[in-house]
């Protein structure tokens, strides 16, 4: 019997839900019209995406006119940040973000700093990887135009105090953007309650396909578009609307929030099982995931071992996880997120992220604990640090 791959890397991407695939199918082959075309086939597509927009708006508790479909979470982040600072640079040149942001935010901000004369400050996090609000407050200047802080961290799962940050930004008249890519399908996305002006989402993190994102943008804020072209998405994001993918992301978001309680209970139980299994069976582990974290993510450092060697060894057993250390992804630098939490370099090189989904089972977690223990023991035998 061929064994199924045990996929524990759902913060990297997720399997597309069969219901989502089914929903999209029709818009490839039947309702394939261009939403800008005036005949019925075009208008039917137009109605479909406007309906999708309303359904997304309902989940975010905003007006449908405030929802924009983009090509990815990265695009949404870039559009929000670059668009706003370029538009409002007469008000100031200062950007605040944090040390633990995704590269879609960090590199966009760094680019603005290097190439367009903006200045930026990075908010520190505490040992749990949670934003230091006092530090954030101390960084605010008269010329601060935007604060961009993620809702939940992709590596550790740490939930950030978005509501409070939004309140602070509002009091100071600073625009507030949140990268909510890792929060979607896990935490409430009510933009009014969260006090956010702009929010980025990415479909493939919640069982929609890759290549579709959402930007919520409060009416009244006018970012300069990244592209120039047609009038699509009210000129903010010219490009013929990706109708099937828009239908897919809306459906996936709906499923995620209709079934949130059910998924939360199931996945959290698996997470706790994995947590207990690791902490009881394996010595020399350091948790990088705080109590206040999304229900699917666990990150541990295994002393004396480099993360990549765990990743490849688990792969041999048909288990997919990721390393916080960017070793495999083209950079030799250890995880900037775990580093920002004040951990030692060696510990940062040793981190492994497990991120679960509704498709995981108890048997998979049991098997993973058993194999992880074997793998860690084997690699420690090779290491000069036996633990």
């Amino acid at each position: 019997m061929e064994k199924k791959f045990i996929y524990l890397d759902n913060n990297a991407t997720t399997k597309v839900d069969d219901i989502v695939v089914k929903e999209m199918q029709k818009y490839f082959t039947e309702v394939y019209g261009n939403p800008s075309s005036l005949y019925d086939l075009g208008q039917e597509a137009k109605e479909a995406i406007e309906n999708a927009r309303q359904r997304v708006a309902k989940i975010l508790n905003c007006d449908a006119s405030e929802i924009y479909f983009t090509g990815s979470g990265t695009e949404s982040d870039n559009l929000a940040i670059k668009g706003v600072v370029r538009r409002y640079q007469n008000k100031g040149k200062h950007i605040i973000t944090s040390a633990i942001e995704h590269h879609a935010v960090l590199n966009a901000v760094e680019y603005l700093g290097k190439k367009e004369g903006f200045e930026y400050s990075l908010v520190k996090v505490n040992n749990d990887g949670i934003i230091d609000l006092d530090h954030l407050k101390s960084l605010i200047r008269n010329d601060t135009i935007i604060i961009s802080i993620m809702y939940a961290n992709n590596e550790t799962g740490a939930i950030q105090p978005i509501e409070e940050i939004g309140k602070i930004a509002k009091e100071k008249g600073i625009y507030f953007h949140t990268d909510a890519v890792q929060a979607a399908g896990k935490l409430p996305l009510d933009v009014k309650k969260l006090n956010v002006d702009m929010m980025s989402l990415s479909g493939h993190k919640f069982h929609a396909p890759k290549g579709i994102g959402i930007l919520y943008k409060r009416n009244g804020i006018n970012p300069i578009p990244l592209f120039h072209g047609g009038h699509h998405e009210k000129n903010l994001r010219p490009s013929t609307e990706n109708v099937p993918y828009i239908m897919g992301i809306a459906k996936a978001l709906e499923i995620a929030y209709d079934e949130l309680e059910e998924h939360k209970e199931k996945i959290y139980k698996l997470k706790m099982m994995l947590k207990e299994g690791i902490e009881k069976n394996i010595e020399g582990v350091i948790s990088n995931t705080p109590e206040n974290s999304v229900f699917n993510t666990l990150n541990y450092s295994f002393k004396g071992i480099e993360g990549e060697s765990i990743l490849f060894s688990l792969n041999d057993f048909g288990i997919g996880v990721s390393t916080g250390s960017a070793c495999t992804s083209g950079s030799l630098e250890p995880s900037h997120v775990i580093m920002a939490m004040g951990r030692d370099h060696a510990i940062c090189h040793s981190s492994i992220r497990f991120s679960l989904s509704k498709y995981n089972t108890e048997d998979e977690i049991k098997y993973t604990i058993e194999k992880l223990k074997e793998v860690v023991e084997r690699i420690r035998k090779i290491s000069p640090y036996k633990q």
Partner: protein, 127 residues
């Protein structure tokens, strides 16, 4: 990403573990950089008769250490000193460019162990 030889050496590394009473020890890299290698050698009549390694590092670092121990075992000191990181990469059937430093570390490791051996030998001779 990795060649079959790299994965074979990673899965079943040769000559790993601590050596009791080595004639030379080379310690290179450090865990801060994500890689640390310790190479132990036993020398008899200028021939490396036994070699062991302990490595903290990625797949490429472990595989490089393993193949390097194979390369030097049975070689004279002079022969062993001629082994370069390029030999390590070739024997492994290639390494991703970003991992080349692992092969360099292995070359440095064996050289450090030999240096340690020669230094100890000299000290003995002087006494």
């Amino acid at each position: 990403m990795y060649s079959k030889t790299v994965m074979d050496h990673f899965r079943n590394p040769h000559n790993y573990g601590k050596m009791e009473d080595p004639d030379g020890v080379g310690k290179v890299g450090n865990p801060q950089c994500g890689d640390e290698m310790v190479i132990y050698i036993k020398v008899d009549n200028d021939v490396i008769v036994d070699v062991k390694f302990e490595t903290f590092g990625c797949v490429a670092a472990i595989a490089s250490s393993s193949i390097t121990t194979d390369l030097v075992k049975g070689k004279t000191i002079e022969e062993a000193l001629k082994i370069t990181n390029k030999d390590v990469v070739d024997q492994l059937g290639g390494l991703p460019a970003i991992k080349t430093h692992c092969s360099v570390l292995a070359e440095d490791g064996i050289k450090a162990a030999i240096e340690d051996y020669l230094k100890k030998k000299k000290e003995k001779e002087q006494n």
